[in-house]
């Protein structure tokens, strides 16, 4: 069944065998948008014609399936592939919205430490032949689940929000990634330019100052993200969503395109006035 998918570039030729780029999406702190970032970047890469696999490494607390709207299609999972109770290709689920996007879900019933780093490397080695990009959604924390998610990764997207606790944990994670030889790139999520202007939110430059890591991109706080999660359709399919556009540019940068960082201006005075009047 080949569906017609609008706006998607056809998949480019696959890279040489075993050449997929493995990117782990991690943060240390929970609730900053790791899973949303994984799903949305995966969808954005797929739209750009990259064959992309997103792996949910949050064993026991899977959610990437729900964000992608694929929760009803799960048969096998990451743990099954690691234990070889199924063929690797039996466990991946194709996205409803894209021919280039696949999900390898986590197991919901196992413990976090049921697989190890070697298992993860083995799983990746197989899928590296089939995809351009493999994005791994890491669980929160820095324990076994995190170590598994980082195993075999070339680079890392460190997601943080402009908050003291999230930045602190991001710093910890960046230290660990450096010691593992995984290159960290920073994604600042849920920025509110109005609050920054008022001096009530840590600015992009301050976050960069503190963490000293290459900035991959910034995503503004945006209601369309919540709506996208409600519908199980990543926000990049909504062409009007500002967050969706940001994620698309981030996906471009991730695949090596030179896309300058957008200027995130506070909303115009008319916009603010309208909001104050309840419009």
């Amino acid at each position: 069944m080949v569906e017609e998918i609008t706006g998607e570039k056809a998949s480019a030729a696959l890279p040489k065998k075993g050449q997929a780029q493995v990117v782990v999406v991690t943060s240390g702190k929970g609730g900053v948008g790791k899973t949303t970032t994984t799903a949305t970047l995966g969808a954005a890469l797929a739209l750009r014609g990259k064959r992309t696999l997103v792996i949910d490494a949050d064993i026991g607390l899977r959610n990437l399936d729900v964000i992608l709207g694929l929760e009803n299609r799960i048969v096998y999972n990451l743990v099954d592939v690691a234990r070889e109770t199924c063929k690797p290709t039996q466990a991946t689920i194709k996205s409803k919205k894209s021919n280039n996007l696949y999900l390898l879900p986590a197991s919901q019933t196992d413990d976090k430490d049921v697989i190890g780093e070697e298992d993860m490397r083995k799983v990746l080695a197989f899928f590296k032949r089939e995809f351009h990009f493999i994005l791994v959604d890491s669980p929160a924390g820095i324990e076994q689940g995190f170590r598994n998610a980082c195993a075999g990764a070339d680079r890392a997207v460190v997601v943080t929000t402009p908050e003291v606790s999230a930045i602190r944990d991001a710093d910890r994670v960046i230290g660990l990634l450096n010691s593992k030889g995984v290159e960290p790139m920073l994604l600042i999520n849920r920025l509110d330019p109005d609050l920054v202007r008022k001096g009530d939110m840590i600015s992009i430059t301050d976050v960069q100052d503190i963490l000293g890591v290459e900035l991959l991109g910034v995503v503004e706080r945006d209601d369309t993200i919540i709506i996208a999660a409600n519908n199980g359709e990543p926000v990049v399919y909504n062409s009007k969503s500002k967050a969706g556009q940001s994620f698309d540019r981030i996906a471009g940068r991730l695949s090596g395109e030179n896309i300058p960082l957008e200027h995130l201006a506070p909303k115009s005075i008319w916009h603010r006035l309208a909001r104050r009047l309840g419009a």
Binding site: E163, V164, G199, D200, M201, I202, I210
Partner: protein
């Protein structure tokens, strides 16, 4: 109303400035590589050393890092309880008595 006007004129320390400086301090601690338990032990030992020579207010004893642009300083804050001269003498007498007792035994 007055509060709003006051806010306007009073240079309030913006919360993002506060957040940044708090973060920098926390990160110095995190990056110093001294885990919590060790820092606690250091705090205890430090307190013992100071208590050999001074009477201190234990509740106010505080070990922290201070970051300036080019250096990080270990900051130990130890409020000293200054006793009055008479108290000291009484205390010394007691010590002397004890000393005598111990000599006798």
């Amino acid at each position: 109303m007055f509060a709003t006007i006051r806010d306007l004129f009073q240079a309030r320390r913006k919360s993002n400035v506060v957040a940044k400086s708090r973060l920098q301090l926390v990160l110095v601690q995190d990056r110093a590589g001294l885990p919590n338990e060790e820092l606690a032990q250091f705090r205890r030992e430090m307190m013992e050393v100071i208590q050999k020579y001074f009477v201190i207010d234990e509740s106010g004893f505080d070990v922290n890092y201070q970051r300036t642009d080019d250096a990080t300083t270990l900051l130990i804050n130890s409020p000293i309880i200054v006793r009055r001269e008479s108290e000291k003498r009484d205390h010394e007498k007691e010590v002397e008595k004890e000393g005598q007792v111990s000599k006798k035994s």
